[in-house]
């Protein structure tokens, strides 16, 4: 178990390093290889119209004129031991982990990431609870009532959920529940949980439901398929032959097996969402990591993009690791070695 953990941790760190290198290369090396000069890169950081002098200043300040390998080394060094940045009147020390400095927003990246993370965490966690409860329940009922009206209706809704994009369901839900019915007047204005829990929940209710609708649909289909397969297993027949009540057969025996693969997918989905629920956050104007990523990409704000990519990769790797360990806990056939 310990060796397993150590090995997986090393692999995870190696993966993160590779992700950072690839991202770095995409933004800093590829443009150079395709013929862009370092001044071209720098010109993205200056305002509406700037002379060559201003561009050159920025080029030097950002170190864009240095070899990409050295820039990467400085980036890594910043994460480990911190870095110094020129705020104007004084040099400011950006302590580890220093994920760079956004020259477009004039702020270090890491505090901004920390600031955005709770929003995404709130969104993902709340939505995950809703979608797991509703998705799994709907999937189980559909599977047990296979071919009936209940099955058809819930699978129809699931198909709608999978097909309708979030920016459609999201804006529709805002129009109905906020603007027309006025149920969630503050939807789209995030308030911290510790600041005001009620406001927090009512601001997030619509995003939760919208995101959960899409995911619940996927989980309902997944659970239904898994249940149908499991209900045909020999050990379900055995459970019935033992004289177990049908409820116990379904919950303890069938559902337990069905949920094991669902757990894996749940872990991966959650990992991806924690890196930023891009569409949901943009639609509902939630200042989370996903919106942060989109805004940074639109602004060509490379240090921020790099930071948010790293955070996203971190969550995916972390959730993968957790899923692997959990899987070994729930399925004794999997050995940790």
């Amino acid at each position: 178990m310990v060796t397993f953990l150590i090995r997986r941790l090393i692999a995870a760190i190696a993966l993160l390093i590779i992700v950072s290198m690839v991202t770095f290369a995409i933004f800093f090396l590829v443009p150079r290889l395709t013929g862009a000069t370092t001044a071209d890169l720098a010109s993205r950081y200056v305002g509406k119209s700037a002379g060559p002098q201003a561009i050159h200043e920025v080029e030097v300040r950002l170190g864009l004129n240095r070899p990409v390998a050295i820039q990467y080394w400085n980036f890594v060094k910043g994460i480990i031991i911190g870095a110094h940045y020129d705020f104007g009147p004084s040099k400011v020390y950006c302590g580890p982990p220093c994920f760079g400095y956004s020259f477009i927003n004039q702020t270090p990246v890491w505090p901004d990431l920390l600031d955005r993370a709770p929003v995404t965490l709130s969104l993902a966690a709340g939505a995950a609870i809703i979608w797991v409860i509703f998705g799994v329940t709907a999937g189980v009922i559909s599977a047990l009532k296979r071919g009936t009206a209940i099955d058809r209706v819930s699978m129809g809704i699931a198909l709608a959920g999978v097909s309708l994009p979030i920016f459609f369901t999201g804006l529709l839900s805002l129009a109905i529940f906020r603007d027309n019915l006025n149920w969630f007047p503050n939807a789209g204005t995030y308030v911290g949980l510790t600041q005001n829990p009620l406001q927090w929940a009512s601001a997030l209710a619509l995003p939760w439901v919208t995101l959960a609708f899409l995911q619940a649909a996927l989980y309902a289909r997944l659970t239904r398929a898994g249940m149908l397969e499991t209900m045909g297993e020999d050990y379900i027949r055995t459970a019935r032959a033992k004289g177990l009540p049908e409820r116990t057969v379904i919950v303890r025996h069938a559902l337990r097996s069905t949920l094991t693969p669902v757990l894996t997918i749940f872990g991966l989905d959650l990992g991806i969402l924690l890196g930023g629920a891009v569409l949901t956050e943009s639609t509902f104007s939630l200042p989370g990591l996903g919106k942060f990523a989109i805004d940074s990409i639109n602004n060509n704000d490379l240090p921020r993009v790099l930071g948010v990519v790293m955070v996203g990769a971190f969550f995916i790797v972390l959730c993968n690791l957790v899923v692997d360990i959990l899987y070994a806990v729930v399925d004794p056939r999997v050995r940790l070695s």
Binding site: D40, A54, V58, D86, S90, Q106, D179
Partner: protein, 582 residues
């Protein structure tokens, strides 16, 4: 698949209808307000002097910066007037007078030396910061010094870098002199006087004195790039908090003295700005009254524009605000056969400007058909139409063919037309142009480029343009401020052309350059503006530019907003310094 489309369409229609139904039900919505369409262009709508309430603004993104040394967008300048005062400012009035300058911190317009190289301003007495300390001329000098540092503040304009006699001065942060006021180009003989020394004559310096860089910054409070967290206020409002990307709140500045400031009001108790709001959602909130204004003010999105145009109830609360922004097609004189003026003129005649206008959203949310460079709101603008494009502006094919014959290409020719991939309207406009040119035998192949690199690597790089034969280039240009120099110099002066990143896409006429120089040294504003009109006419005569649309922004003012009007000096935005909610 075929079945799902009507479903989605119905849902969308339902959502729009519901959103529309929501209008007037929430917030300060109500059915009040005496607005009619375009009313705010000529007079304040819902005039009021009542104070109190919270003005709720929203921004789909964030400011380029709220630091006066580092901002370039008109809406940022408009908003900055709430918390900061500059030497000069545009008059806070509706209509054409909004493009006139008026003193703000200064007692009057700049006093210039005979050679137009020295400009002196006297400050009004008794002006204080939010903490009650007096504003000094040195503080204005200090902010101009800060704005010179493009390392720390890369966003702002470079007029002071280009015109002040810097003598090697780079930044107050490298300044070893005590007080960090080492810049020789600005003198402050006393706390109330500031003198600018230019390296070349410039007659329209008052416009520079309007720039946010002349907002005083107390050196003791300067935290460099972090100063934006709390800009020390001189205007009627001061920072309560600002979280970049999320929100900002301003509250009354009790040390602002209205007697020194006839141009601003202090009506709301609070001004809150939500940042990073989904643009379509922002429009919906404006329409249902839960927001008071879109702080960026470039106009509503396509969905809301369609709603506003179709419903009289909404349209009466909307304004199609004229801006100092022009859509045009640059015609590259370096690319054959456009080296021949007649081939360029053939394009001027052939273009179906009405079709292009439609591609940009029609007269209401697109703008008016343009026949020359300087739109009416630029002082001195003369309404000329050197290339009449036939009835209904659908293009004059006979004239175009005549020019083609004169060019030696009676059957037309092939060329390349470029547009920015991400800009749907621009691409549609290019398609409309392509079709109208095809009618006279000019076959334009459309090439699309990413907008981030459009000027840096492609259309703005003369070497690339020549090599790849980019004959026609779709382009938009907005004036830094509505005045000949602020509008035209960057797109017609051949001496600003660089290796890459150009905005002058090929206007090369020594006569134009000469007129630009002449305007720079003409002290009399009327005479100067007349020179810019001459430049407009000359560039049109050269046919390097084919203008087709004077941009208008379709703005929406919820009926609950008071004292709201469009300020033309601020590029057709609502004037935030006068807005109220009671």
């Amino acid at each position: 698949m075929r079945r799902s489309i009507p479903l989605v369409a119905t849902g969308l229609a339902a959502s729009l209808a519901l959103a529309a139904c929501g209008g007037g039900s929430g917030g300060s919505g109500g059915s009040g307000g005496d607005g009619t369409f375009n009313a705010a262009l000529t007079k304040p709508v819902n005039p009021s002097t009542k104070t109190g309430g919270t003005l709720r603004l929203a921004n789909s993104g964030d400011w380029d910066n709220v630091d006066p040394a580092d901002t370039y967008y008109a809406y940022s300048w408009d908003f900055a007037r709430l918390y900061g005062r500059t030497l000069m400012m545009f008059k806070s009035v509706p209509g054409k007078s909004g493009t006139e300058l008026t003193p703000d911190l200064a007692q009057g317009p700049g006093q210039h030396s005979a050679d137009l190289k020295t400009w002196t301003y006297k400050l009004k007495p008794g002006i204080k910061y939010e903490d009650g300390t007096p504003v000094r001329a040195q503080d204005i000098k200090y902010d101009v010094e800060r704005s010179l540092d493009k390392k720390v503040f890369p966003n702002g304009p470079t007029y002071f870098n280009d015109y002040l006699d810097l003598q090697g001065y780079t930044s107050p942060y490298n300044d070893k002199t005590p007080g960090k006021l080492g810049l020789k180009a600005i003198d402050t003989p006393d706390d109330q006087t500031i003198v600018f020394h230019l390296k070349k004559a410039f007659a329209a310096f008052d416009y520079f004195a309007m720039l946010p860089a002349t907002m005083p910054v107390p050196p003791a409070k300067d935290t460099g790039a972090n100063y934006k967290q709390h800009v020390v206020a001189t205007g009627p409002y001061k920072f309560e908090n600002y979280t970049p990307g999320k929100s900002m709140a301003l509250v009354r500045n009790t040390n602002w003295d209205p007697s020194t400031d006839p141009n601003r009001k202090q009506l709301p108790d609070r001004i809150e700005v939500q940042l990073g709001i989904n643009a379509d959602d922002l429009d919906n909130r404006l329409i249902n009254g839960s927001l008071d204004s879109d702080v960026v003010g470039t106009g509503v999105q396509a969905a809301a524009a369609a709603k506003i145009q179709s419903q009289a109830r909404l349209k009466k609360n909307a304004d199609a605000a004229p801006t100092a922004r022009l859509w045009y097609t640059a015609i590259s004189g370096d690319v054959a056969p456009f080296d021949n003026i007649h081939c360029r003129r053939a394009v001027e005649y052939a273009a179906d400007k009405t079709a292009m206008q439609t591609a940009f959203g029609g007269p209401l949310s697109g703008g008016d058909v343009a026949t020359h460079l300087m739109m009416p709101l630029i002082p001195g603008s003369k309404d000329i139409n050197p290339y009449p494009s036939g009835p209904g502006n659908h293009g004059d094919i006979a004239k175009a063919k005549q020019e083609l014959a004169a060019c030696g290409k009676p059957n037309g020719f092939k060329t390349v037309l470029t547009a920015r991939t991400e800009r749907v309207k621009e691409v549609n406009g290019a398609l409309a142009l392509q079709q109208s040119l095809a009618k006279v035998g000019i076959q334009a192949e459309i090439k699309k480029f990413p907008q981030g690199d459009y000027f840096k690597l492609y259309a703005g790089k003369p070497e690339y343009v020549k090599k790849n034969g980019l004959g026609l280039i779709m382009m938009a240009w907005g004036a830094d401020w509505p005045e000949g120099f602020g509008y035209l110099s960057q797109i017609v002066d051949s001496r600003v052309i660089r290796d890459a990143g150009n905005t002058n896409l090929g206007v090369k006429d020594p006569a134009v350059d000469k007129l630009v120089d002449q305007a720079a040294v003409t002290a009399d504003a009327t005479a100067r503006n007349d020179l810019w009109a001459q430049i407009d006419a000359k560039v049109m005569d050269d046919a390097y530019i084919m203008p087709f649309l004077n941009v208008k922004g379709l703005l929406y003012r919820p009926p609950g907003v008071k004292n709201v009007f469009v300020n033309q000096g601020l590029n057709g935005l609502y004037d935030y310094a006068q807005m109220g909610v009671k």
